[in-house]
C-alpha cells in the first residue's frame, strides 16, 4: 500500500536525521575531549607525569597523527564495536562496561515499569477529576517533587529508610562482580524509588495537560451530545488523541533516566554506567568517557525517533499526510 511506503519513507528520513545528529555529536565530543586540550596526554596524566609516559600515551592516543586521521580511526572503532581500551581499568572497554550496562539497564527498566504506568494513571485520573481536592493536593505534591534534584530525593530516602528513622533498607547496593542486580532486590528499592520520584511528577503533569486538552475539545463535547457512554468517551474518543503526547513523554522519561542514573548510581554506589562515567571523569579515562557519552546520546536519539514514529502511526492526520 502506498500508505506504508509513505511511513517507511518517513522513518528512513528520521533515521537519516538521527544518524546525522549522532555524527555531529561525535565530532563535538571528540573535539572537546581529544582535539581541544592542547595536550590531552599531559592533561590526562597531570602536570607531574614524566615525559616518557606522556610520550607513550601520546602515541597510544594517536596524537602524532592528523586530527582527521585520529577522528576517523576513533569513529571506525566505535562503529565496528571495538572502541578500544580503558586507560584506568587497563582492559577493553566492552569488558569493563559489559556488566555495568546490564546493571544500569535493569535499573532503568525497573524504574520505567513503575513510573510510566503510575504517571499515566495519575495524569489521567487528575485530568478527569480536575480542580478536586485530590487533584489540588497531588498537583502541589508533584510540584514540590518535580523541583527537587535527584540526589536530594535519594539522600532523604536514605535518611528516612536506612539511617535515621527506620533501618530496613540498605543505603548502598551490594551487587558483587558478575552478579546480576536481581540478586539484591532489597538494594534496588531506594535507587529505583529515587528515579521514580524524579520522573513521575514531571511526566504525570504532561499527561494531565494533554488529557485535559483532549477532554476540552469540541469532539469530546460532540461525543457526549451524541449520547456516548462515559467509558466510550474516554477510551474511544479521548485516548487515541492523547496517545501522541504520551509517547513523547515515555521518550522523555527514558532520556531523563539516562542522565538520572549518573547521580543515582553515584549516590548508592550502584555499579552501572552512570557510576562508571563519573569515575572515568574523575581519572580522565578518555576512551571510556567518549564511549559512554556516545552510548547515552544514541539512547536519546533512538527513543526520540521511536516516539516520533509511534506518534505518526497513531495520528491519522499525520499518517496520511506523509504519503
Amino acid at each position: 500500500m502506498s500508505n506504508n511506503r509513505g511511513v517507511l519513507k518517513f522513518i528512513a528520513r528520521r533515521l537519516a536525521l538521527g544518524v546525522l545528529t549522532l555524527f555531529v555529536v561525535s565530532v563535538v565530543v571528540f573535539t572537546a575531549t581529544q582535539l581541544l586540550p592542547s595536550d590531552p596526554a599531559q592533561a590526562i596524566l597531570g602536570r607531574d607525569a614524566n615525559t616518557a609516559s606522556v610520550a607513550a600515551l601520546r602515541s597510544k592516543l594517536g596524537l602524532n597523527h592528523s586530527a582527521f586521521y585520529q577522528y576517523t580511526h576513533w569513529l571506525k572503532g566505535m562503529v565496528s564495536g571495538n572502541p578500544g581500551d580503558s586507560f584506568n581499568a587497563r582492559q577493553p572497554i566492552l569488558d569493563y562496561i559489559g556488566d555495568r550496562v546490564v546493571n544500569s539497564l535493569f535499573l532503568l527498566v525497573l524504574a520505567s515499569l513503575i513510573s510510566i504506568p503510575a504517571s499515566l494513571w495519575l495524569g489521567g485520573y487528575t485530568a478527569r477529576r480536575r480542580d478536586t481536592t485530590f487533584d489540588n493536593v497531588t498537583s502541589n505534591a508533584m510540584l514540590a517533587f518535580a523541583s527537587l534534584p535527584e540526589f536530594v530525593v535519594g539522600i532523604v530516602l536514605v535518611l528516612v529508610f536506612s539511617v535515621r528513622v527506620w533501618h530496613f533498607l540498605p543505603a548502598v547496593s551490594a551487587i558483587g562482580i558478575g552478579q546480576g542486580p536481581w540478586t539484591d532486590m532489597k538494594g534496588m528499592v531506594l535507587p529505583t524509588a529515587t528515579l521514580v520520584i524524579g520522573a513521575v511528577p514531571y511526566i504525570s503533569r504532561v499527561v494531565r495537560a494533554s488529557m485535559i486538552e483532549v477532554l476540552e475539545s469540541d469532539y469530546i463535547e460532540m461525543a457526549r451530545l451524541k449520547g456516548a457512554p462515559e467509558k466510550v468517551v474516554l477510551w474511544r474518543h479521548a485516548l487515541p488523541n492523547a496517545l501522541g503526547p504520551v509517547f513523547q513523554v515515555i521518550a522523555l522519561n527514558i532520556a531523563y533516566f539516562a542522565a538520572g542514573v549518573i547521580v543515582v548510581e553515584a549516590l548508592f554506589n550502584y555499579p552501572g554506567i552512570g557510576g562508571a562515567l563519573r569515575d572515568s571523569v574523575r581519572v580522565r579515562d578518555i576512551p571510556v568517557i567518549q564511549f559512554l557519552v556516545m552510548v547515552l546520546a544514541t539512547v536519546y536519539v533512538i527513543t526520540n525517533l521511536a516516539a516520533d514514529v509511534a506518534t505518526v502511526l497513531v495520528t491519522p492526520r499525520l499518517r496520511t499526510r506523509i504519503q
Partner: protein, 591 residues
Amino acid sequence: MTDVAVSITDLRIDVAGSGKDIVDDVNLTIAPGEVLGLVGESGSGKTTVGLAVLGHARRGVKLARGEVTIGDAAMLALGDVALRHARGKLVSYVPQDPSTSLNPALRIIKQLTEVLEFHDFGGSDAARRARVQEVMSEVLLPSTPEFLRRYPHQLSGGQQQRVGLAMAFACRPSVIVLDEPTTGLDVSTQAHVLTTIRELCHAHNVAALYVTHDLAVVANLADRVAVMYAGRIIEQGPAAELFFNPAHPYTRHLVAAAPDMSTDREMVGLRGRAPAPGRRPIGCSFALRCELAVDQCRAEFPAEREVSVGRTVRCIRPFEVPQRTQHVAVHSSPIAASATHALMVRDLCASYTGLEVVHNVDLHVDRGECLALVGESGSGKTTLSRSIGGLHREWTGEILLGSERLAPSARDRTTAQRLRIQYVFQNPYSSLQPRRTVGDSVARPLLIGGASKMDAARKVGEMLERVALTASYANRFPDQLSGGERQRVAIARALVSRPEVLVCDEVTSALDVLVQASIVELLGELRRDLGLAMLFVTHNLPLVASIADQIAVLADGKLVESGPTERVLHFPEAEYTKRLIADTPQISDVS
C-alpha cells in the same frame, strides 16, 4: 397544544457560582417540521440556549432554572443515564465547526455507526449498516466503503458538515439543534447544506432550532424567528413579518445593518455593545443604545406582549421608528479622471512555493473610487491583496502606484511608497500589538515618515476623532476595546499618514452585523472625504453593494468578471458570478 415538538419554559442559565445570568426568561416552542431561527450577536447567549435543549451546559455555566420538554422527557430533570439515551436519539446537535467536532482519530463510518449503537437503533448490525447507507444518501454524500473509511481531515468542509448532519439525523430525532452549521463554508456549499437541512426537517417532521448570527440565512430557512439580545428573547414571530416589519428597535437595527444587494438601501450601523452578564441594567438591556428609550424602559424590563397572532415583543414602544435625517449616498464618482490610476495591477501572477495561485490579473483603482475584489476562500483574493501591500513577494507582473513601479516586498519599497499604500487587516483582534497603546500603534507610520513626537501625537488625536473615537483612546490598550473599536483604530493607523491607496482585507468578517455596518459607513465616508482609492477585498457579495463603485470577481485565481457594481450585481455576465449571486442568501429572499 399537542403540536409541539419541544418547549423551553422560563429558562435561566447562570455563570456557575456567581448568580450572574447569561440567559434569562427564555420561552420558546417549536412544532414538528418547523424551523425556528434563533438570532443574536456574539455573546447574546444563543449557543448556550441551544445546548440547554440537549440538557448540556459548558464548563463554568449552570442551568439554573426552567425546563426543556421534548415529548415526555423533561431534559433538565433527567438523570445521567436517561439524558444520555435522549441525546442523539430524541434530540441531536449539529456543531458550528465540523473540522474540530469530528474526532480526528476515528473513521467517519465509526463515528456514524456508533450513534446508532449507543441507542440500539435498528436492533442489528445489518440494520445499522443499512441505516448508515440511507442517511448518507439523505445528506447527499457517497456511501461507498472507500468514502466511509476516510478520516475527517480527508473530507472537504462541506462534506464534514454533511457528516455532522448525517450523525444528527441518524437516529431520526424529533428535535435537532443546529449551531451556526454553515459558518466558514463558501456560499455555494452553504446554499446546498441549507437546502439539505430544510428538506430533511420537512421530510421527517423534525423540529429544528437554528442558531445563527446571520439574518440572511435565517430568512432563507426559518419559518419563525426569535431574536436574542443580552440573554433575553426580545422578539419572536414568523420570519417574513419580523423582517419586513420589525417590532423591536433592536431587530429594526439588525435588519437595517444587514447587507443586501437587491435593494438600494444603505447599511446602517449602531455603536456600542450589549451589556455583559453581571453588568446588565435593571430595565431593558437595550435602553442604553435605543433612540426610543424613555424613563420607563430604564425602570423595568418590559414584559412580553403579543402584538399580532404568533408575534411577541418585549418593548413598550413596538413598531415605532425614530425620525432621522436622510442618508447621503455613499457612492460617489471618482474625483477627476487623471491620466494615471492611483493603483494599477498589470498581468500579475502570484504563487506559493512555486505553485501559481493568481493568474494574470489586471485591475486598477482611481482616486476616490472603491473597487471590490470579490471571491470565495481559495480564490486568491488575499494573496493578490497581500502582494499589493508588499506582504507577499512571490509574484511577477507589475504593480504601479501612480506612475511608480513597486518592488515585490514592502522592505524593498521606499518609505514614501510604503506610507502611500496602507493595509487594513481582517481580524482586529490580531492586527494591533496587544502590549502597545493605541496611540503608539497609530503614531508609528508618522514616526517612520519622520514626524516629531509632538506632531505625531497631535495627528493621532485628530485621526482618532476622525474615525469616531475620542483622542483619549490613545492611552488605551487593545484589550480595553471592543472589536469595532479595534477596527476603527486599525483604520486610523492606516490613514494617519494620509495614504493614497487603502487595501481593506475582509475588514468586517470578524465583526457582528451592527458593527460591520458602522465600519462600512465609516469607510465610505472617509473615502469620500479623503479622496482615497480603496481596494475592498471580501467574500461577502451583498456587502459590496453598499460600498463599491466597481467590482472585480476572482475565481480560482482568475479574474472572471469586472465592471460597475450595479451592472455586475444585477446583470452578471460570467456563469460563476451568476451562480454566486444566486447562492447568496439575503433577507429580501424571505419566503
